[in-house]
Symmetry: C2
Subunit: 236 residues, 2 copies
DNA sequence: CCTGTAAGTAACTCGTCAGTTACTTCCTGA
DNA sequence: TCAGGAAGTAACTGACGAGTTACTTACAGG
């Protein structure tokens, strides 16, 4: 009697099926990853980041996220509980990636003026290269930061940039290169704001001024302006 | 036979029903306004502005808007065609109201430095007093300015503030009070950005810094900072 | 004064979408 | 070696919400 007639045929059969068990299992895992919670979770998160950034919290569709990630919709609920839970996870993951990329900021000079200029330009470039972050943050603020508020991960990110700004302000003031009495938090908000606003509102600004804010020339000009603005203000 | 049993009872009967026709019609119009296209349109627009500002384009519900306005949902489609059409009308109406309120900006001095300080403070106060504008603009940018783009009304609003900034920059540079070579559009974007960002992102900023950005003291401090920042930069 | 059109109403339709169910397949550790 | 739980699938459900229909009521011009 041929029992194989009663056995469901695996959807994951590969060319390696006939080889030795251990080797084939390993090969399969490496190549197709039949069961890989880490990978599934990560691919859902990645798909969700794109969908939420593109269409917002209510605009994004769980079916689309599932399809895009290659996983099943059930898995979203398995790993993240709800659509809101998924959105929160996306925010946390994105915040965590910022933290990582802050290592990218290597101030090449001890001089406070040069270093501050690099910091301002870095922050401009950062928003330029991470449009999805700008969108997600906008979306979150439209929802009164409900997800960030209930997230320990996101709240714990206390912006090391503020520390850095604070230190530069002190050194610059001591050396007579910067004015005194500048609140680092206010300055941080201004540095972020002049770049963030340019990107977050680029569509309406483009429509009003009838120029393409994303053209290379426009970007170069804006980058120069934000650096000049902050350094000009900081002169004693 | 009593025919009144077959006649639908008017929902608009008032205490004045028994008085003379002409007089009662006038009284009714004044008091209850049975048929008033202008008023209906306006009340839908007003309700929609609040709902869209509070919940965003997809978050807002046409049923809620209808209920809130006192009109019927059918009337939304009668006057505005679609939910998107209504959103566009809300944007146009809001832009139009800005234009009107720009008359509020009465620069009390001919001195470019003083006048520029007033302009920056005015722009801060304006965002502070019109949170619904900040929300609607955010929402619109999240949708790539699709509604503004297809609206002649909104596009025509070419920001007279830029003209004003331009004029102040010229006078200030001529008198030696301002630096030269400042692009008025860049400066306009920066002036708007440092205030707008503070309000649009106040929820996440509050969560991160654990302070209430809307407390009177915080607002006063921020207002002072944005003025100092711009005037500090503009020094020659 | 009466008729055509605009203003207004309530109840519906019909697609969509978050979340669930009922099931199968795989893997681990006792 | 097998039991039980975790990973995964597909089809379903039930609510909700944008837009429509079929109707009634008001009013202005001939």
């Amino acid at each position: 009697m041929d029992l194989s007639a009663n056995l469901p045929i695996s959807k994951y059969v590969t060319a390696a099926t006939d080889t030795k068990t251990a080797a084939s299992a390993q090969a399969k895992a490496a190549e197709r990853a039949t069961r890989d919670p880490e990978r599934t979770r990560a691919s859902i998160l990645s798909a969700a980041t794109q969908e939420f950034a593109a269409k917002g919290l209510e605009g994004a569709r769980t079916d689309d996220i599932a399809r895009r990630s290659g996983a099943n919709k059930r898995m979203i609920y398995h790993y993240f509980g709800s659509k809101d839970g998924l959105f929160q996870a996306v925010l946390e993951d994105t915040y965590a990636r910022i933290r990582g990329s802050e290592a990218d900021l290597q101030l090449t000079s001890r001089d406070p003026v040069v270093a501050m200029g690099q910091l301002v330009a870095f922050s401009f470039d950062w928003f330029l290269r991470h449009p999805e972050f700008v969108k997600l943050l906008n979306e979150e603020n439209l929802h009164s930061a409900a997800h960030v508020r209930s997230s320990n991960v996101a709240r714990s990110l206390n912006m090391p940039l503020v520390e850095l700004i604070s230190e530069l302000l002190e050194r610059g003031a001591a050396s007579g290169q910067f004015r005194t009495g500048v609140d680092p938090v206010q300055l941080y908000i201004s540095i972020a704001g002049i770049s963030y606003f340019y990107f977050s509102n680029r569509h309406t600004l483009s429509a009003i001024f009838n120029r393409d804010l994303e053209a290379p020339g426009a970007l170069r000009q804006r980058r120069q302006h934000v650096v000049d603005l902050i350094l000009g203000y900081l002169r004693p």
